[in-house]
């Protein structure tokens, strides 16, 4: 089983991000569209909330570097997305979208979760 450690991911991510040739300002609006077009919603839900098929991505997503590295090299349940099918720009936009998603309410404040 090949597992990539978080530290390894961070090191790899630094290289990947540097290799992007300087990021443009990411767009959360475009990211929301890209999130659907690239199928992220399929496992993680339209708000990145996660479920049995994929972990939550938002709120408070992983740092962009770690996020990018995982998407590019995943050997977990998620198949990797190479740059040929998901550009660095789209990936940054998706991350920007995830960063805009609000925190979930405190479950104690939701009566239906305390029946």
């Amino acid at each position: 089983m090949r597992f990539v450690s978080v530290r390894g991911l961070a090191a790899l991510a630094a290289g990947l991000v540097l290799g992007c040739g300087g990021a443009l300002a990411a767009s959360a609006e475009k990211g929301k569209i890209a999130f659907v077009q690239h199928g992220c919603w399929q496992c993680h839900g339209f708000q990145g909330q996660g479920g049995v098929t994929g972990p939550k991505l938002a709120p408070e997503p992983l740092p962009l570097e770690t996020f990018t590295a995982f998407v590019r090299t995943s050997n977990r349940t998620m198949p990797p997305y190479m740059e040929a099918i998901l550009s660095n720009e789209d990936l940054a936009d998706i991350h920007a979208y995830l960063e805009t998603l609000p925190k979930a309410p405190d479950p104690k404040s939701i009566p239906l979760l305390n029946q």
Binding site: M1, G39, Q42, G45, F46, Q47, T53, P105, P107, L112
Partner: protein, 658 residues
């Protein structure tokens, strides 16, 4: 079966032949009102010469006279005796789609049998009929019979039979068939006949037979019932010849007898193996119990609680049945197996996957295997399915070596195992066991909080989150004696994670064979059983599942089966959405969406199906689509009131994917 006795004189074959002759005569005879002679009009064309000779006296009489009453079939109909046999086994319903190959027993059931025990339930598809029987059993604990047209009907039923097989559920499938090639009607009935109709289901039934006489039928039917109801349960099939059904009982001196049914005792684990299992469990540092279809009854739940508390062992309930209360502090997630030194598997459909992981993300798209447990973990299996392994279909899963293997019924073996464990626990282990329980209580409380936090994510989202869907539903039914009869699709397992499931009927498990299309019919069948017990039935109904055979909605309305169906409508075949996305990624290609949300061929949108209108058209109260989470509770409340009045109700909800 070939007709051995040509009597009575006007039998079905001669009758049909007579109809054919009369029909041909009618086709060539011009209509003449009241038998009057046609008038010859002035300037009219001269009468055409007849193209055939005038009819003789006999033919003229056949064409114009009142048909002579046909002689009735004398004696007792064979299918009446079949009904007598069926009635001895306390079978309440017969969900079926009508068909000529079983018309005789159909007629006997509703006329001779009074349409009671069993009552014929009109179904619009054989898969729905068998699926209903599947769901019914999981509540009632009793099998139903389902009549199927030979070949074509049984072909429709096969997926539901396979689900019942994989889910270890007894269903008695009776296929009509007309074996006598020399005498059966040509054309359609012959297309619908086969040498051996049961061949198509033989690989996934426990037993089948083709009785050639009425006494043979009596033995076969009681035997079929007995086999299907002996754990491991399973479906059985009987091919019922049309001739045998239709012909009268022959007075050949043989007195027909109906064998008395005596239930077989379930197979229990070998005494030595039980002792060895108890020794391992009693001395384990961290034993874990994994249960799939372990609790066949409420007593199974009680026994499993007893064993778990005796050992203070965590229980992973895989959910094939409601095995263990979700509110119990020893209830553990699947990951708990990683720290185990002894794993007791009870009626597992896949032990390999309990202790191994498969990640569908290896080189060249080939999955990667890894272990979930420590190297020296001891494995114990009690599994009656080992007694029922067939070669063709691969429901036996990958081979897993275990240290103690008991091919036995888990529920029946638990009392002996509990006693053996009680005797095997060394005195110096009791304090450690108690301490284990304290740690489990803390872990359970923490896990509960994490679950609620996860449920709160996207709480106000539209489409509606699956956690919100199930909790809005629960809020409206929590005061009732509820039963979640099916949860088709995938709602991230929220009902099992959040609802206080404690009774055996709170959760019925899934399809078994993962054949899509189980949810709707099984929930109607289970709701039927719950109706008779005064319980409230609710289902989480997915969109793809409902479209396999939506006609079962009509059956529910027709027979006044109250059921609340809350739809998890994510507008796609979501499992397949992800498979195609995965393969696209493996091949480094952008998945083509074709204007939908998911890859081409996986979405159910453009146009969106208005399931509420579909249900309404078949006699259900229905509303939707609901996309605003704040409006969902009020609509479900309305629907609950309808269901409490005895009618089915459906709420179409647009949901998050999972």
């Amino acid at each position: 079966m070939a007709r051995k006795d040509p009597r009575p004189e006007v039998n079905r074959r001669k009758f049909l032949a007579g109809v054919a002759v009369a029909g041909a005569a009618t086709a060539v005879t011009p209509p003449v009102a009241n038998g009057a002679t046609p008038a010859t009009l002035p300037n009219a064309e001269p009468p055409r010469r007849p193209s055939a000779l005038p009819p003789n006296m006999h033919v003229a009489a056949a064409e114009t006279a009142t048909p002579k009453e046909l002689p009735r079939i004398g004696g007792v109909a064979g299918s009446d005796f079949m009904v007598d046999v069926i009635k001895t086994l306390d079978i309440k319903y017969c969900p079926s789609n009508c068909a000529s190959s079983f018309r005789a027993i159909h007629e006997s059931l509703i006329n001779y049998g009074g349409n009671k025990m069993p009552e014929f339930l009109t179904c619009t598809h054989e898969e729905s009929a068998v699926g209903m029987a599947h769901g019914y059993f999981k509540i009632a604990g009793k099998p139903l019979i389902s009549l199927c047209h030979g070949t074509v009907g049984l072909q429709h039923a096969t997926m539901a039979v396979y689900n019942a097989w994989c889910d270890r559920v007894p269903v008695i499938v009776i296929g009509g068939n007309d074996l006598d090639a020399a005498h059966r009607p040509p054309g359609v009935p012959t297309f619908h006949s086969a040498q051996d109709i049961n061949a198509i289901v033989r690989d996934y039934t426990k037993w089948d037979d083709t009785p050639v006489g009425l006494q043979h039928f009596a033995q076969s039917f009681v035997r079929a019932y007995k086999i299907s109801m002996t754990p491991p349960y399973g479906p059985v099939a009987i091919s019922l010849d049309a001739g045998l059904q239709q012909e009268p009982i022959k007075g050949n001196g043989e007195k027909l007898q109906i064998p008395r049914y005596v239930a077989s005792s379930p197979p229990q684990g070998d005494t030595g193996a039980v002792k060895e299992a108890a020794r391992l469990l009693a001395n384990a540092q961290n034993p874990i119990i994994v249960a799939d279809r372990a609790a066949r009854t409420e007593n199974g739940v009680r026994l499993l609680v007893q064993l778990a508390e005796l050992l203070q062992a965590g229980v992973i309930d895989q959910g094939g049945r409601m095995n263990f209360p979700k509110t119990h502090y020893l209830s553990r997630p699947a990951t708990a197996v990683s720290n185990a030194d002894v794993v007791l598997g009870l009626e597992l459909s896949d032990f390999w996957a309990v202790v191994n992981a498969y990640t569908d993300n290896g080189e060249h798209g080939i999955g990667v295997n890894s272990t979930r447990v420590k190297p020296d973990t001891k494995l114990i299996s009690i599994n009656s399915s080992e007694l029922l392994t067939k070669a063709n279909y691969q429901d036996f899963q990958r081979f897993q070596t275990v240290d103690v293997s008991m091919p036995a019924d888990a529920e029946s073996t638990l009392p002996a195992l509990i006693e053996a464990v009680r005797s095997a626990i060394p005195n110096d282990r009791k304090a450690a066991i108690e301490k284990r329980g304290e740690a489990a209580k803390k872990a359970f409380a923490e896990a509960r909080e994490r679950t609620k936090q996860a449920a709160a994510l996207a709480w106000d989202a539209s489409p509606i989150s699956t956690a919100r869907l199930v909790m809005e539903t629960f809020a409206q039914i929590k005061g009732l004696d509820w039963s979640l009869v099916a949860s088709s699709g995938n709602v991230s397992n929220w009902p099992n994670r959040l609802w206080p499931m404690e009774k055996h009927y709170h959760w019925l498990g899934a399809s078994g064979g993962y054949g899509v299309g189980y949810g709707a019919p099984a929930s109607v069948g289970a709701a039927l059983a719950n109706r008779d017990l005064g319980r409230f039935s609710v289902s989480i109904q997915s969109d793809g599942d409902l479209m396999y055979a939506p006609g079962v909605l009509w059956t529910a309305a027709k027979h006044k089966i109250p059921l609340l169906a809350v739809m998890h409508n994510n507008r796609g075949y979501h499992q397949e959405v992800m498979h195609v996305q995965r393969l696209s990624n493996f091949r480094n290609r952008v998945a083509s969406l074709g204007g939908d949300m998911g890859p081409i061929g996986t979405s159910i949108q453009n146009p969106d199906i208005e399931y509420h209108k579909l249900a309404e058209s078949m006699g259900w109260w229905a509303k939707g689509p609901i996309t605003d989470p704040d409006k969902l509770g009020a609509v479900i409340k309305e629907a609950v009131a309808v269901v409490k009045s005895g009618q089915p109700a459906l709420v179409n909800v647009w949901t998050q994917p999972r």
